[in-house]
């Protein structure tokens, strides 16, 4: 028999802070049974043994509407039927008791054992509110503790209250919400509103002010941050800073991690005898680990910033500001952060969609977020634009290459909005699921809470998506290495041996031969053969087998495209903006002397990379977030088809108009 404490309450009551305070780092995340809503659970050590603490999704009333709210009530009903010891610990914000007491009063009336933690007691003191805990406890007929999860005030008393026998196993009287009628729920809600109001009036002494100081301060800040002119400017500036932090802050760490793991691979390569084991470790396992770890700094910085904005109270306001503009597309302000995150990397963007309570809207957001121009596309865009957009192209005096790059960012956003418009006419559409949003008071973010917030999300990425990305990287390595075409490799290996055995070693020549050897290996491998096989399918887009192989290998991650092309062109290195590769692409010729690639090929590649979901990591993350392969499979197939069709159109139109 388990002993379970379920934390319930309205969003923004500090429920998660209290959960963190009670469980420390003894936490794990999983999904609630039968759905994709995340369940955070942990353990609390009491004198009577360990108690499982479950952080239920936020619930506004006794009338569940969103998937999150249904999950909370379903979980309580399942617990009641399982014979486990249960206590519902309702968390209420001390400055908003008239609203927050409805849920505990309703659950108590529904036959559940309930205790109440009145949180943010420090803030209510600043507001001049006086609370009589004994009166409140008597009115609601449940134990009450006054706490501040942020400062730790009252937590010892709460621990003692929870540890000493308030859990109850006999829940035979508890209502089963899964089969409760709407009428019964309305009766419960109406009764709970009355009891909550009476309890609040009797136990709370309000200050003699029209508006609480924290609310008055928030209104003053809102008059500035939501000002018709200053508001949008501040929003754009905030997002600009977020981008800057992502690119400027994450890049050195990413380069350091990438460099360190590259150096480790090189050291191992020098130590180990050449062969499959060395290649597995140096070309498969370590790059696989690298492909996972290099994303962590971006995810950490992004979530540190999102966490700060969320804790400060600005995030719901930013969503409210763009809400109106997004409604014609069947979206709302809540998609703002996932889309924004998608500019760094689709993975945190997809993860950020969890804040959207409506399941359909969340799925639409997950489907469209990968269209935002993530940082992995930048090396590909840079290579193609530098190689094929002339430096002399200066529209209206601006740098033409920069204009095309900016255009690619805009193209992603426009495609996402157009697809959202299309999805509006499908079963994914939902009338604005939240016609009103709570704007919590502005608060200074807590460093401790923020650290935990970032840690949980980074660990989630490493432990879940990371495992699969690593395995897929190994599979791609195997496809790129096997089978070895000995007949094709033998003369190049002999040439390499001759160069190395020469009296005056020529490192430039050796590197060139090594490059050709790498290219021959890829060409003869399963991946290379697949490239040849798929070449006819991509020929209409102006791609040859080399570009087809590079695009195929870019399924692991888009930026791999550049590295693979670099290897195929016998350049050896994987510099993202290598002048050598740029020159090679410009000067590449067919056997008949005609240009192998031109502006039309670049246009088709740019369009294809802007739309196609070429990122195993994102596909795996979408699988994790949606709970099945159906959505990512649909997403991949649809975006691939659309990318192909538009790339073909772009190729043909460019050929027709520009030659």
């Amino acid at each position: 028999m388990n002993r379970v404490i379920a934390l319930a309450g309205r969003p923004n009551t500090g429920k998660t802070s209290l959960f963190n305070a009670l469980t420390g780092l003894r936490q794990r995340t999983a999904n609630f049974a039968g759905c994709t809503v995340e369940k955070a659970s942990g353990t609390m050590r009491a004198s009577s043994g360990e108690i499982e603490i479950v952080d239920l999704p936020g619930t506004f009333s006794m009338l569940p509407q969103t998937e999150d709210e249904h999950v909370s009530f379903r979980f309580l009903s399942e617990c009641a039927g399982s014979g486990d010891d249960l206590l519902v610990l309702c968390v209420a914000e001390a400055s908003n008791l008239e609203n927050d007491l409805i849920l505990p009063a309703g659950l108590k009336a529904a036959g559940y054992p309930v205790a109440l933690a009145v949180n943010m007691i420090d803030e209510s003191r600043l507001n001049g509110i006086k609370l009589d805990a004994a009166e409140l406890s008597g009115r609601l007929m449940m134990p009450v503790a006054l706490v501040s999860a942020r400062t730790g005030e009252g937590l010892l008393k709460l621990d003692a209250l929870l540890a000493h026998g308030v859990l109850r196993a006999d829940l035979s009287d508890a209502m089963d919400f899964r089969c409760a009628t709407k009428k019964r729920l309305h009766e419960l809600q109406d009764g709970a509103v009355e009891r909550a109001s009476a309890a609040s009036s009797a136990s709370v002494t309000w200050p003699h002010r029209a508006v609480l100081p924290t609310v008055a301060r928030s209104i003053r800040i809102d008059r500035m941050l939501l000002h018709p002119v200053a508001g949008p400017v501040i929003l754009v500036a905030t997002m600009f800073l977020l981008f800057q932090a992502l690119f400027i802050g994450a890049r050195p760490i990413m380069e350091f991690l990438s460099g360190a793991l590259g150096a480790l691979a090189n050291s191992l390569r020098a130590l180990l005898p050449g062969g499959a084991l060395a290649s597995l470790l140096c070309d498969g396992a370590i790059p696989g680990i690298s492909a996972v770890i290099v994303f962590v700094p971006q995810i950490a910085i992004l979530f540190a910033m999102i966490g700060s904005l969320e804790q400060s109270g600005y995030l719901p306001r930013a969503g409210a500001m763009v809400d109106r503009a997004l409604r014609p597309f069947g979206l709302d302000g809540r998609v703002f952060i996932p889309f924004l995150s998608g500019f760094a990397c689709a993975i945190p963007g997809v993860l950020a969609a969890r804040t959207i309570a409506s399941e359909k809207r969340r799925i639409v957001t997950i489907l469209l977020t990968p269209l935002m121009t993530c940082s992995a596309r930048i090396p590909v865009y840079t290579l193609l634009i530098t190689a094929f957009v002339p430096a002399t192209f200066r529209p209206m005096g601006f740098n033409g290459q920069g204009v095309v790059m900016a255009g690619m960012y805009a193209f992603g956003v426009v495609m996402a909005l157009l697809l959202a418009l299309v999805l509006k006419f499908t079963s994914f559409n939902e009338i604005h699921p939240s016609p009103a949003t709570v704007l919590p008071p502005y608060r200074v973010p807590s460093a401790r809470e923020l650290t935990r917030y970032v840690w949980v999300r980074c660990w989630h990425f490493l432990s879940r998506a990371g495992q699969v990305i690593f395995i897929v990287s190994l599979i791609l390595w195997a496809l790129a290495v096997f089978p070895r075409d000995a007949a094709r490799l033998a003369p190049i290996e002999a040439e390499l041996a001759a160069v190395r055995a020469g009296s005056a070693p020529d490192t430039g020549l050796e590197r060139a031969v090594l490059g050709r050897l790498a290219a021959a290996r890829i060409e003869g491998s399963a991946l290379g053969r697949a490239g040849r096989l798929i070449e006819p399918a991509f020929r209409p887009l102006g791609w040859d087998w080399r570009v087809s192989v590079a695009s195929l290998s870019a399924l692991a991650a888009r930026e791999v495209f550049v590295g693979t092309l670099g290897t195929i062109y016998a350049l050896g290195g994987e510099s993202n903006a290598s002048e050598g590769l740029i020159a090679a692409l410009r000067e590449a010729r067919n056997p008949d002397g005609t240009e192998r690639y031109g502006l039309a090929t670049a246009v088709s590649l740019l369009i294809f990379f802007a739309i196609a979901l070429q990122c195993i990591s994102t596909i795996v993350t979408v699988r994790r977030e949606t709970g099945s392969w159906e959505i990512p499979a649909l997403q991949f197939a649809f975006l691939f088809g659309l990318a192909y069709a538009l790339a073909f159109a772009g190729y043909r139109l460019t050929l027709a108009f520009l030659g």
Binding site: S61, N96, A210, L226, R317, A320, R324, P435, A436, L439
Partner: protein, 75 residues
């Protein structure tokens, strides 16, 4: 009178709803916008929708289309 006709910063009290869908009614009630509660329209967001309102002791951003369906009286 309805909430859309009330100027900013004028306190009123909610009387009830007129023509709201059950979904919206339940949502608003869950958020604390119930009959008897004091409401003040604080400001319009930059695109003039939603509207920030002080409802009891909390701030809500309410979609403008709902305001004509919230009946109010002078506080």
């Amino acid at each position: 009178m309805t909430l859309d006709t009330i100027p900013l910063d004028v306190p009123v009290r909610v009387l009830g709803y007129a023509g709201l869908s059950l979904h919206d009614k339940e949502r608003l009630a869950g958020l604390g916008l119930r009959p008897g509660v004091a409401v003040v329209k604080i400001l319009r967001t930059p695109l003039r929708d939603p509207v920030e309102c002080l409802v009891g002791s909390q701030l809500l951003a309410i979609e403008a289309r709902l305001l004509p369906q919230i009946r109010v009286e002078a506080a």
